[in-house]
């Protein structure tokens, strides 16, 4: 069963198309990345799936069915625009938000306490939100999305405003949920995080689907057949010029990226290299999601 399915969904506001004919599905137990530049329609897509707004056309199925009130209780949502009751005590607010997901009071209280402990916020439980630092508020907001132990967790930019330590804490939590068989939808600009965390992604641009599939598959697909070589000694770079069949050489961090001429045998190049220098690494170079992201967005806007 798919955790989530979109079938030909479109939505427009005031004559402007925000989402155009989008179809995709999210499998149970995966981390699914929702990527795209600002204004691509990510937040609208999330609001559609939460039934906060209605689609103009198309079908949305959550847990295999139209979103019911009961299904809503199985979803946790961290919106991009963070909002908390500023004057309410932490624990009271978390309990209230959990109760709105039909968790009974006692259980909500227990969940809230254990979650606060897990993110080192327990000592602040009696404080009001406005007394906390920005970073702590972010963590509280994250907790409010998972306090009812949802099966589908939707996180819109969960890392924005977090320091590296908190980022790691939230990341660990996300992986923990995936390992527990829960489905996570991660909407973010941070391609590095998406590349590390996500199993599959959907990339939107101007309301349209531009990329969709597994992270590994997309990277392979966008690879230009280039090779990544790392030498033990830097001066060995000169020897590359002696080897035939290489079209382009460029530096990439610690390694050199080689673009072979078409029809050249890659094994041949490796043999030639091994004869002349000590090789630490020799692999097929895959573009990062970030590169694919920029390339895709630019090629679309260049049309």
């Amino acid at each position: 069963m798919h955790a989530l399915e979109f079938e030909g969904v479109s939505k427009s506001f005031a004559e402007k198309n925000v989402i155009r004919d989008i179809s995709f599905s999210v499998e149970q137990g995966e981390i699914f990345g929702l990527l795209g530049p600002n204004g691509a329609g990510k937040t609208t897509l999330i609001r559609l799936l939460l039934d906060i707004i209605k689609p103009d056309s198309g079908e949305i199925r959550v847990f295999g069915d139209f979103l019911s009130a009961a299904a809503k209780d199985r979803i946790g949502y961290l919106p991009e625009e963070r909002g908390l009751y500023r004057k309410t005590k932490l624990l009271d607010m978390l309990v209230y938000l959990a109760q709105l997901k039909n968790v009974n009071r006692k259980e909500a209280q227990a969940n809230a306490e254990s979650l606060l402990k897990s993110l080192d916020l327990y000592e602040h439980r009696g404080k009001k939100v406005e007394e906390l630092s920005k970073g702590m508020q972010q963590k509280i907001q994250f907790l409010s999305a998972v306090i009812h132990e949802p099966e589908l967790i939707i996180l819109d930019e969960p890392f924005s405003g977090l320091d590296p330590v908190s980022t790691k804490a939230v990341k660990d939590k996300i992986l923990e949920y995936r390992n527990a068989g829960k489905t996570v939808i991660l909407s973010t600009h941070m391609m590095e995080q998406a590349q590390k965390l996500c199993d599959r992604i959907l990339m939107l641009n101007k309301g349209e689907r531009v990329l969709y599939g597994t992270v590994a598959g997309i990277r392979k697909e966008h690879g230009k057949n280039s090779l990544l070589v790392e030498f033990a000694e830097k001066r060995s770079l000169r020897i590359l010029q002696e080897i035939p069949g290489i079209r382009k050489i460029s530096w990439r961090e610690e390694a050199v990226e080689i673009l072979p001429e078409e029809g050249t045998n890659v094994q041949g190049i490796l043999q030639e290299l091994m004869l002349r220098a000590e090789i630490l690494r020799f692999e097929q170079a895959l573009p990062s999601l970030n590169e694919i992201f920029i390339e895709t967005v630019e090629s679309v806007s260049g049309e």
Binding site: I52, Y77, P79, R82, L100, S144
Partner: protein, 420 residues
Amino acid sequence: MFLVSKFSGKTFIVARHEFLKTIRRKEFLFMTFAFPLLLAGIAIIPSLLASTTSAEDQRVGYIDMTGSFDFPESLTREGFSVGPLGAKPSTIEFVRYEESSEAREALQSGQISSYLIVPADFLETGVIELYASEKEMSVPGAELSVELSNIAINSLLKDRVDEPVLQRVKDPVNLKLYNVGDNGESSEQGIAEILASFGLPFLMAFLLFFSIFSASGYLLRGVAEEKENRIMEVLLSSVTPSELLTGKVMGLGAVGLLQIVVWLSVIFLGGGYALPVDLEPVLLLIALIYFLLGFLFFASMMAGVGAVTGSLQESQQVAGIFTFVAVFPLIFMQLILTNPDSPLSVFLSLFPFTSPASMLARMGTSEVPIYQILLSFLILFVSIHGVLLVSSRLFRTYLLMYGKRPGIKEIWKNIREAGR
């Protein structure tokens, strides 16, 4: 019906949360408890002060130069001031002296608190002299003069006229007012009735207006705040807009009801002993119905306003327009009270914005036909339905829109589209 069909567990959770949150607000606690205490304080404290000073027992000396005065040995006075504390009786003991020098010595030595001299020419001048020490704080002059009058009348007329004549001389005229109604019936109108017919309706209308507006004001603030600090999106991922709206209206309605019950009890308890006033249970019941309907009407309107506007400040400005319309009956209160059956009064008591306060005021002063009361209920009920419908659509459309406030045209278009 909208209200009934959307009741769910979550609605009650929202209602409970809103109720608890609001009754902990300082403004609410002040308005509900401190405000009536303050009013009661202003009304009661002076009489408390008056009753404590006059409640002490005194010894008063007298010198009767006419020889015809018949002073009793002591005199027990009922409490002069209002309230249970004032009901404590105090006694004045009269002590006879022959010479003014004796009385002066007694006064200086503190045996008596004051003394009276009835001069020989009392019959011609009517003067009785009262001497008190400078240090004496409470001189019983005013109260004493009533007692002295009775003693004087007794002394002058006793055995010369019949007892009823004696009583009439002491208490000559009691003026009573009667209202002659259209059907020729006349009804007695004493102080209590005048208070009941003018003061109470005004007070009730005022309180009704106040509690409706403070409760729906909390609602407006709540919605605008939740929209402004963006928690709305979190809430809407858990509850539907109509669950949220219904829950808020219920929670804050309970707050307003609590407030008005506290206020009415204060009037009941406080009024019961400060003023001889009867509140008719039927009038109370109708007041509560008007409160509920009036609150629902304004609250759902405020919720719509809160949903459309972008910030708390802006929403309060827009809400001010509605408040202005609702203040109308208070401005026209005099007209309603003096002329309760004029076409304008009838109109104000039927028009949904003004009907709760106006109808209560009319009911206090004249016999309002039952059909008019029922008609105003019906009009309010239908209006509530309409406003709720519009508000919940606005709620759905605008809760998550920020930035520019939509124009009237666009709002109208959205209301119509949402209905399809």
